[in-house]
Symmetry: C2
Subunit: 306 residues, 2 copies
Amino acid sequence: MDLLIIGSIGFDNIKTPFGKVNKILGGSAVYASVAASNFVSPTIIGVVGEDFENKYFELLKKHNIDVSQIKVEPGKTFHWEGFYDYDLNTAHTINTQLNVFSKFNPKLSYETKNTKFVFLGNIDPDLQLKIYSQIENPRLIACDTMNYWIEKKLVKLKKLLKKVDVLFINEAEIRQLTKEYNIIKSAKKVLSWGTKIVIVKRGEYGVMCFYKNKIFVLPAYPLEKVFDPTGAGDSFAGGVMGFLAYKLKNNKMLTEQVLRQSIVFGTVTASFCVEDFGINKLYNVTYRDILQRYKEIKHLIHFEMI
Amino acid sequence: MDLLIIGSIGFDNIKTPFGKVNKILGGSAVYASVAASNFVSPTIIGVVGEDFENKYFELLKKHNIDVSQIKVEPGKTFHWEGFYDYDLNTAHTINTQLNVFSKFNPKLSYETKNTKFVFLGNIDPDLQLKIYSQIENPRLIACDTMNYWIEKKLVKLKKLLKKVDVLFINEAEIRQLTKEYNIIKSAKKVLSWGTKIVIVKRGEYGVMCFYKNKIFVLPAYPLEKVFDPTGAGDSFAGGVMGFLAYKLKNNKMLTEQVLRQSIVFGTVTASFCVEDFGINKLYNVTYRDILQRYKEIKHLIHFEMI
């Protein structure tokens, strides 16, 4: 198994200034795995209800995603309903129904325990720690989190951050987590806790990545049409982790350049995600499309030395 | 004369979460000219009151700034008082006293009329147009503006934008100006009006530059300590215009690379400005310091092709 992706699988109702959709496939594990599947064959660890039709399993399988570790439990699948205003930066939640996800507590199979690359999507830090401890001999483990867990489970979250290699977090969250306003200062604080790489997501402004005493800054791919930001953060993380799992297999070293390239791939993959509702566009993108934007972003930021 | 800089010269009272200062030298023309003087010898067109002591003229002269076109008028010098909260992105004005600046209406001398490079700082578009029409044979004219003029003088501002080569504007302002939320769409609209180059300032997130059908995106230089953002936009514009005036003298062509380099120099120059109150740090920076950050920003955004 190339890459484990743990997170939610669900149905979303989404409203943006440009339209609305009901009951479309979503959830952090879905976005991250569709993104990662451009580079490796990711395995989703997740749970769905009995209302999760076969067509969705087929849809994921067709995209090179291993669905064998998705549990089907009695009850309904996770459901999220939300909307965005014109600024598109903040998701406003109308309703969250955890349903079968409320009892999510995966026991990893022998094979999954031995996976080298793991993305712990945004779930309860207690669960993230439980999953972490089941991984026998990890190479690179990344996690995501959110304001809710920073408020409710700070001690456990900090315990997790001592152990993980990569933290994906947005600007507001890292400020809240570290009680530092300046992003460089807050990233340094998280590094001092033990996390090896801190990746701060800045939405339409791009990303900053901190590791050792170095910084990589990348603007987002400029888009004339941002349709639906749902899943942008997860498809970014999925792209980063997919590329890293691909490049670091067979015990290759993580170099600074591979890390930077992974962030560019994450950025570019996420740029497709936001151009249509849900996974509509992301699902139909080819590696060729991704590579095209990789080259474009290189040109967009290029300037010559003096 | 290398570069004309038209704008305010004044005294500021500034309060930030990190301290406060009273009656320090400021104003758009001061920031822009101190920044530009790293590349050329700029000439300020402006007005001060009788309270503007000789030491300030000397201070500007020592920085390679031509003060011969600054008029001293009976009355008091322009005064601004404002504060910033932790986000440091929005200046909150407490008090503006235009004083002698209220009657600012410069008649250019023979020599200044023949200057090739002009930066029309953020003043009334009527005045910007009057100055524009006095320039005999311009090579490159840039302007700045603000929400106040977009609200009060839209027709005149649009008339100016048909003529100028470069517009410096921030995100909120260009949205207001074009009634487009998306920055790419709004920049394209301004280009369609006739402005040749649109430079959108994004504060701590950097800058986007639009020209023909091309885009250049640059993140800001990352700073651990942002002390006082006053003058950041003006020192950015001053750095850009200073470098352009230097590189394009003797009728050199404006190439895409020179434009991109000018934006990097503007970015780097502005990064020093915000590290202390007023012009304190900007004034003491050398070209060597600027070049050092130019190289650093190149490395910060560097990634290899795949």
